[in-house]
Amino acid sequence: MVWTRDQMAARAARELKPGNFVNLGIGIPTLVANHVPADIDVTLHSENGILGLGPFPTEDEVDADVINAGKQTITELRRTSYFSSADSFAMVRGGHINLSILGAMEVDEEGSLANWMVPGQTVKGPGGAMDLVAGVPRIIVLMDHVTKTGSAKFRRSCSLPYTGRYVVDMIITDLAVFARPDRQSRFTLMECAPDVSVRNVMESTQASFDLGDYF
């Protein structure tokens, strides 16, 4: 039984530490906010210039000047601060954001990732993804284990243009969790979804990885 998107998000939420400043990408990573344990105090960052993202607003609370980097309406918290885009990315580039959780099209076994363009398809631009993977000291990728057509997304090397090289610390998919202690190390399979075997994971993965002590 593979993990649902909410279960993946919940697994990622377990990586949050008290006091962390966290940037959540668009898509599945956004769901992580719903799974932050009550005793873990984290502050969410949005690259358009907000620290302390609050939940989505009620109809009455909607304010066109309070949006996140996904252009979604959000709300303020008591801790919220606003600042310019330059100041926002100074936080990112300077390593002040503790953790970024983002989606990916492909990750390779060296932890390089691709998530911004597919040659031949319309290019929308990198947005803040390259800045986040280059600047944030801990990068967690949340993605489906294989593409819609069934090909492996955790690969020997990326086939798509890179967003960043050697930057991913942990990969959480619907099948499994991979992690590595530092960016020079190989990835180790840490967990599998219920009833998903190591063999299942290996068959759906192109990258080589180590098996943890658990297996």
Partner: protein, 235 residues
């Protein structure tokens, strides 16, 4: 005292527009964009513009208007989704796009305004956006050299201005506006509210008036929302 307040966007733009010029615009998505000035520049018919902006608007709003009227020949941006006509012009080669990582774009604009011709960043190293750029190692990591950006004209949206051109932005509508204000040879601000001299707290001014040559009261203030997302309970 010299007041920087102009009556209309046309008056504020008078004498500043010429074909082939560069224009930097504040805003993120459709949030905090200078709606009034964009519309006036579109109406002016000025051509062959190089635009510096994080986004390119949507088909019928924001910079998308100037895309549709084919006034932009080149754009320096970080994300240009949500715009079909843009896509068509881009794919057909009518519109040249220079993609930047968003933080690099922000820093390039700040650097241009701050007299810094170039700086180094790890962002983009090893990607196609660093191709052809100088790579240099600091503290054991490769960095790419990026250059400062300036524009002939900068247009920004603020919440409040005083007659000296001091500006205060509202919430996340601040985004690129404060840095864009610094990078223009001339900067025009459109604002929701004009207040009297001395009404802004000197410690709470986001953009000092030195960066702002002209100010108008915003005539368009639609503030279109791209993704109205509500609390689940409220749906």
């Amino acid at each position: 005292m010299i007041s920087k307040i102009y009556e209309t966007a046309e008056q504020a733009l008078d004498g500043l527009l010429r074909n082939g010029m560069s224009i930097a615009s504040g805003g993120f998505g459709l949030c905090g964009i200078p709606e009034t000035l964009i519309a006036a520049i579109a109406r002016s018919g000025v051509q062959n513009l190089t635009v510096i902006s994080n986004n390119a608007g949507v088909d019928d709003f924001g910079l998308g208007i100037m895309v549709r009227s084919r006034q932009i020949s080149r754009i320096i941006a970080s994300y240009v989704g949500e715009n079909k006509e843009f896509e068509r012009q881009y794919l057909s080669g009518e519109l040249e796009v220079e993609f930047n990582p968003q933080g690099t774009l922000a820093e390039r604009i700040r650097a241009g305004g701050a007299g810094i011709p170039a700086f180094y960043t790890r962002t983009g190293v090893g990607t196609i956006l660093a191709e052809g750029k100088e790579i240099r190692t600091f503290a054991g990591f490769d960095h790419v050299m990026e250059t400062g950006l300036v524009a002939d004209l900068a247009i920004v949206k603020a919440w409040r201005a005083d007659p000296f051109g001091n500006l205060v932005y509202r919430k996340s509508a601040r985004n690129f506006n404060p840095i864009v204000a610094t990078c223009g040879k001339v900067t025009i601000a459109e604002v929701e509210e004009i207040v009297g001299p001395g009404e802004l707290d000197p410690s709470q001014i986001h953009t000092p008036g030195i960066y702002v040559q002209r100010v108008i009261h915003a005539a368009c203030n639609e503030k279109r929302i791209e993704q109205k997302t509500l609390k689940k309970e409220a749906l």
